[in-house]
Structures are given as structure tokens and as C-alpha cells.
Amino acid sequence: MYKIIEKNFLAENIVMFKIKAPMVAKSAKPGQFVIVRIDEKGERIPLTICDYDRSLGTVSIVVQVVGASTCKMAKLNQGDYILDFAGPLGNASEFVNLNEEELKNKKYLFVAGGVGAAPIYPQVKYLRQLGVYCDVIIGARSKELVILKEDIEKLGCRVYISTDDGSLGIRGRVTDLVKKLVEEGNTYDEVVAIGPVVMMKFVSMLTKELNIKTTVSLNSIMVDGTGMCGACRVTVGGQTKFTCTDGPEFDGHLVDYDEVIKRQNMFRDEEVRRMHHTSECSCF
């Protein structure tokens, strides 16, 4: 059992939990994820690690309510327990394997869509602690859904915002900002884009034109997260890969995004049925 130490709403339907899980906290690295099972009857839910504190033995996760399980999760409170919390899973971001010397002169551009700001956070934090230059773009539907902006700014990087309705930052898409920053003369060694699959697809198309190496983090449907089921398979560069053990981060220019999108909708009918089953989500 894993205790919820803290719970905060970052937006109307986005919750951050700080969970006591010392073994996970000790080994966690940016880019990795955990698998959470709320109770005996729950499914295994993959969630990216958003932050970790090795001395306190805590791991933070950010959950966006999209269906029955994430809804059930959002209803949990500080002091409650989660039955299973397995991780860290997946490979750490590639830059974790680079030494300070190799990283020193590199410039990174992070592009987060919606709740994608959560997985971006530990990556930027890691790089900034080593003094690496990072710019960050956060895109969301509207102002209320922009999360972690101040936290990321505190890491000492410039944060650019785009919203669909123009309620914060520019009115438009993250790709508009990427284009703008590059046109203004900024150069980047690598773009890291995390968010909805369509967003990652369009960012990758753009950066391919701009000839900037791009890394994306895929959120395929998973069951075990240990390489045992193949539910998470994706086509990357024409080859089948397992997101949980080969990823979750891949070369954004090689991913077959249309397949990822189709596979994500695999259980949509069942999920809708299940939502009704558990009656409407009423966590807020």
C-alpha cells in the first residue's frame, strides 16, 4: 500500500498526487513512468513521473481525468492509500546518459501540450540543475488548463504559452510558437515534445522541416508495462517496438502516429460503457 501524502488540483480536472514510495523515488529518472492500480478491481494505469524527492521518499504524479479509472483516482484524498505503485518503468530520457561536458553547450526546446507539462517538468529540472539551456512552450485549450507554468519558470527558463482561445499567451498552437522562436533566430539541438498524439505529430512534422532532432514520449495503451503483453506496440522507423521497454521516448520523426492514434481508441466503446457503469464522474 502506498500512501497519498499530498493532493492538489492543478486545474479543474487535473490532479497532482505526492505518493510515498521510497524504492521508486530512489531510482526514478526523468522520462520514466509508473503503473498504478487503485484497488483490487482496478486496471493498471500508466502515469509519468512528474517529480521525486529521494530524501523524503516521495514521487509526484499528475493525473488528467479522461475516463473511469482516472476519475476514480481523482476522488482519492490525502491520507488514502493506493494498492499498487510499480516503477520506475521505461527508459530514462536519452540526455540522462550524457555527461556534463556533452550537455554543456546544448540547447533544448521543450514543447508540452496540456497535461504533457507534467512529464516535461522533471526533464527540465534535471537539465537546469546541470545548467543546460532550456526553452519551454506550453500549449493548452485555455488559461485554466495551463499547468506548472510557475514551477517551470522557477527552474530558470523562458516559458512561452499558447492557448486555443488566446486567454493566455498567444492565441494559436504550440507549433506557431516553435516556428516563431526559430524564425527569431533561436537554435536548438533537440526538441522534446510531450502531449496529445496529434500535437506530437504536428510538432514532429514541423521540426523535420526545420531539421531539428525531436524526441516524443508515447502514451500507448498498456497492461503490464514490463514487456510481457505487447499491448503497447508501436511502429517506429518501420519496426515494431514496445513502448514500455523500448520507450516511452522515441525519435519523433520515425513514429507512425496514425497507428498510435488508432490503437489508443481501441477500447473506446468499453470505456464509455464503463463510465456510465460507474455513473458520471463527480469528483469536482
Binding site: R44, K72, A86, M228
Partner: protein, 459 residues
């Protein structure tokens, strides 16, 4: 003639996940035992991978001394309720029985199961523990290899911790083999509880290589030896067109959703969708389990296999049960392409006829494609049961552990010693997908090797 064993009626069992084979009663067991000739140099024993003293335990059944029979079995095999149910007896113990030459072999598996269940049902304490040695050993993976290694070490007096990646212990016994063949609450959980009684600690949700590395187990957590029993769970796919379409599952995914996550029960959250017509590709136990699970979920199920029924590696009993339950066998057939609709969902397969020509070096007939024989069949779901390779996480993350070109961990045959000091391995992780009893045997051998290593190494 063998004493027939009671089974759940076909009409009943295809509607539920209850165990199909009901096992022998005391009377039936004693009667069946009385057929055994108590052979001197018994051939059955030679064909059992762990050499269970079959004539001796059967002798005690004849005399109704069931606890004595248990004592004999447990010397060789600590999970008889499980092995009695899942060993491919027809090619192992029973395949060697002299009575099989003219008539029917003694039902050794069913008798072993009877004794195993007797022990579980009567809470008999079969293990005699040696004094504590105050040395810690870690076991990675809680499948049959890990379980038998852990129990042997615990009996020898070691402090044993099992680390399991999933949320439940048991490996394939819980996530793969279905309830109707191996009941989870009644059998697997109880066998695991017996292990806990020996003082073995089980830590779930720990992925060794990720949550904690092998080196950390030694340096930070104070373990003096490690056994790796991580299995061969990584599913193979065929590499044909359309294989990533929605509705194409690996057997592992399909069975894990059904067994481990109980997706067939409405009150559980994990979804599973199969439609009306299901194709299962393969002819092993895994294929039969997937097919029979799909039958119970209400589908018309086809087994697609490129050789004939004679070459199928599945246990005879499984093939027999699958047929009884209405599974259709399309043999000498191989998929060449999976067809998907505009939303990316499976709608059918292009299949090709095969014929058998000659034999390969292992003596198996070689399937050859029949040219121009392609045809299309409609299916809603395709389940790939064409094999698995060893789980990758430890070898990905631990450079000291050498693997071969089949991704199997390289070990010294007799001891299970790996290329890393103090680390032993066994079961499917070493052999590739094999059997429960072979995994158990390897776990036990490694336990003795670890005992030897720790007794000589650092007293």
C-alpha cells in the same frame, strides 16, 4: 482401464471459468493406484524431469497413507497440485509407464494432484525447516522457478525475499494459465501461502533492473546471492502486414486481461473486447488456453496451425478439451496478412494452405506453402500464440549478465550459475519457453548451488 476422472459437463463449462477436471475422490485414487505394478527400475521415474519416486508414492496411496505419499512427493516437487494439473504427462511420467505399452498408463498426474490437494485441504505441514543461517538471498520473479528456488532455500534456513514485477505472485501460473485449468484462489494462492509460512517474504511491484538493480541488492540491501527466474514472457509476433491493427492481441495480453485483471467479470475495470469470430494462431498450450478462454467469452473460435494436429505441442488433454468445447481446428493453414477496416480494426485474414514435406533436424515435419492457395476469412479478433522470448528488463539493464542470441541467460548447466558473481538463474529465462516442472527443477537445483556457494564462500 484407467479409472475415469470426473469432469464438468461441456454445456456448463463453456459458460463459466470453473475448473474442468474435478480430480479423483479418495476411493477413485486408491483404485487407480492399485493398477500400478510398483516396477523395480521404473521407467515412469526416468521420464519425470525431477525424478519423483512414483512407485513409492503410489504404494502409499494404495495403503491410504496419504501423508506418507505426500512426504515422498515433496522431496522432489514442492508444487504437486500444480504439476499434477499442468505437466505434459503423456510425454513425461505417463509416457514412460509400462502399462501404456498395451493399454492405458497409470494416471500419475491425477494421483499426484490428488495428494497435492489433500495436503492443501488438510493443512498438512510437509516442510521440515533447518535452523536459520542468517543469510539473505533474493529471488527475482515469482513463477514456478522462483517459487521452488525460494522454498528450497527457506527450508535450508536462508532468509529469502522474492521480488515480483507484477502486483500478484505466481508468474504464468496467475497471468497465463486460466482459472478453468488451474484455480487461482483454491490452488495457486494456497501454494504461495505455504511458502509464506516458511518465512519467505514476497515484495510485489518491484521490477529488478528498474526499481532496484542487481548490484544494489548486493551492495545496499545486503543480499549475498540472487536467483533470477524472470521467465520468457515477451511475446513474439509474426511480422506480417496488419499485425498492429486493433483487435490483434498477443496471447499474453489476452490471457493477462482475462486472468490477472479478471476482465471477464463486470465489476473489474480492465476492458477486453473480442467480437464474434476469433482466430488463435498457434498449436501449443498457450494457444489452447487462449482459444478456450475466448469460447467462454462467447465467441466462435478457430485455431490456425501450420502443421497438423499430430505435431501440436499442446498437452493432449488440452486439445481434447478444446475440441469438446467447440474450438474449430484449421490445420495446415498459415496467416499471411491481417486485414483491417477503415478504423484500424481487424476484419479478417488472408490465409494460406500448407503441406508437410520432410523433417527438420529435430525430427519435426516441415510445413511448406501451397502456392496459389490463399483465401480470405472474416475474423473480429486475432490472437497470436506463436511463442515468447525471455523477459528483457534484467538483461537490458545489467551488463554483467550474459545472454545468448535467443536472449536466454547464459548459465552453467548443473548449477544455474550466471556470468555475474553470486547470481544464479533458471526456468524459462534460461531455457526459453518450456514447462512448469522444468522451471521448478531448475529453481531447486540453483537453490542447492546457492547453498553450496554461500557455505563455502563466506562463513
Amino acid at each position: 482401464m484407467r479409472v475415469p476422472v470426473k469432469e464438468l459437463k461441456v454445456e456448463e463449462r463453456i459458460k463459466c471459468f470453473d475448473e474442468v477436471c474435478l480430480g479423483y475422490s479418495e476411493e477413485e485414487a486408491v483404485l487407480e493406484a492399485s493398477r500400478c505394478l510398483n516396477c523395480k527400475s521404473a521407467n515412469c521415474v526416468k521420464k519425470c524431469p525431477v525424478g519423483v519416486d512414483i512407485p513409492k508414492f503410489i504404494e502409499y496411496i494404495k495403503k491410504r497413507e496419504f501423508e506418507k505419499a505426500a512426504e515422498i512427493i515433496f522431496k522432489y516437487n514442492s508444487l504437486p497440485s500444480i504439476c499434477g494439473r499442468v505437466c505434459p504427462q503423456e510425454i513425461q511420467c505417463e509416457g514412460g509407464c509400462v502399462l501404456g505399452k498395451k493399454g492405458e498408463a497409470v494416471a500419475i498426474g491425477k494421483l499426484e494432484r490428488f495428494i497435492g490437494d489433500y495436503v492443501l485441504n488438510n493443512d498438512i505441514d510437509v516442510f521440515k525447516k533447518e535452523p536459520k543461517k542468517n543469510k539473505k538471498v533474493a529471488v527475482v520473479g515469482s513463477g514456478p522457478a522462483g517459487l521452488s528456488c525460494a522454498s528450497t532455500l527457506a527450508i535450508l534456513g536462508y532468509d529469502v525475499t522474492i521480488f515480483e514485477a507484477l502486483h500478484e505472485a505466481g508468474g504464468v501460473l496467475v497471468y497465463g494459465i486460466p482459472e478453468f485449468r488451474l484455480p487461482k484462489e483454491k490452488i495457486v494462492k494456497k501454494e504461495i501461502e505455504n511458502l509464506l509460512k516458511l518465512g519467505v517474504e514476497i515484495k510485489t511491484n518491484v521490477i529488478v533492473g528498474r526499481t532496484v538493480t542487481l548490484n544494489q541488492l548486493f551492495d545496499e540491501l545486503g543480499y549475498e546471492a540472487v536467483f533470477i527466474g524472470t521467465g520468457a514472457g515477451l511475446p513474439k509476433f509474426m511480422g506480417i502486414k496488419g499485425e498492429n491493427a486493433n483487435g490483434v492481441y498477443s496471447a499474453n495480453e489476452f490471457l493477462t486481461r482475462a486472468n490477472l485483471m479478471r476482465a471477464f467479470l463486470d465489476e473489474y475495470d480492465t476492458p477486453l473486447k473480442i467480437g464474434k469470430r476469433v482466430a488463435v494462431i498457434g498449436g501449443g498450450n498457450v494457444a489452447m488456453d487462449a482459444a478456450r478462454t475466448a469460447v467462454r467469452l462467447g465467441a466462435e473460435v478457430h485455431i490456425i496451425y501450420r502443421r497438423t494436429e499430430d505435431e501440436m505441442p499442446a498437452r493432449l488433454e488440452e486439445i481434447h478439451h478444446a475440441k469438446e468445447e467447440g474450438v474449430i481446428f484449421d490445420v495446415l493453414t498459415n496467416p499471411v496478412e491481417i486485414l483491417a477496416d477503415e478504423n484500424g480494426w481487424v476484419k479478417g485474414m488472408v490465409l494460406r494452405k500448407m503441406e508437410l514435406k520432410g523433417v527438420d533436424e529435430s525430427g519435426r515435419r516441415i510445413p511448406v506453402e501451397v502456392e496459389g492457395s490463399d483465401y480470405v476469412e472474416e475474423f473480429d479478433t486475432v490472437i497470436m500464440a506463436i511463442g515468447t522470448v525471455p523477459n528483457p528488463i534484467i538483461s537490458y539493464t545489467t551488463s554483467e549478465i550474459k545472454i545468448n542470441n535467443k536472449r536466454c541467460i547464459v548459465v552453467e548447466e548443473d548449477t544455474g550459475k550466471t556470468t555475474m558473481e553470486g547470481v544464479y538463474a533458471g526456468g524459462d529465462a534460461v531455457t526459453g519457453a518450456a514447462t512448469v516442472i522444468l522451471a521448478m527443477g531448475a529453481g531447486k537445483r540453483a537453490a542447492y548451488a546457492i547453498d553450496h556457494y554461500l557455505s563455502n564462500n563466506n562463513n
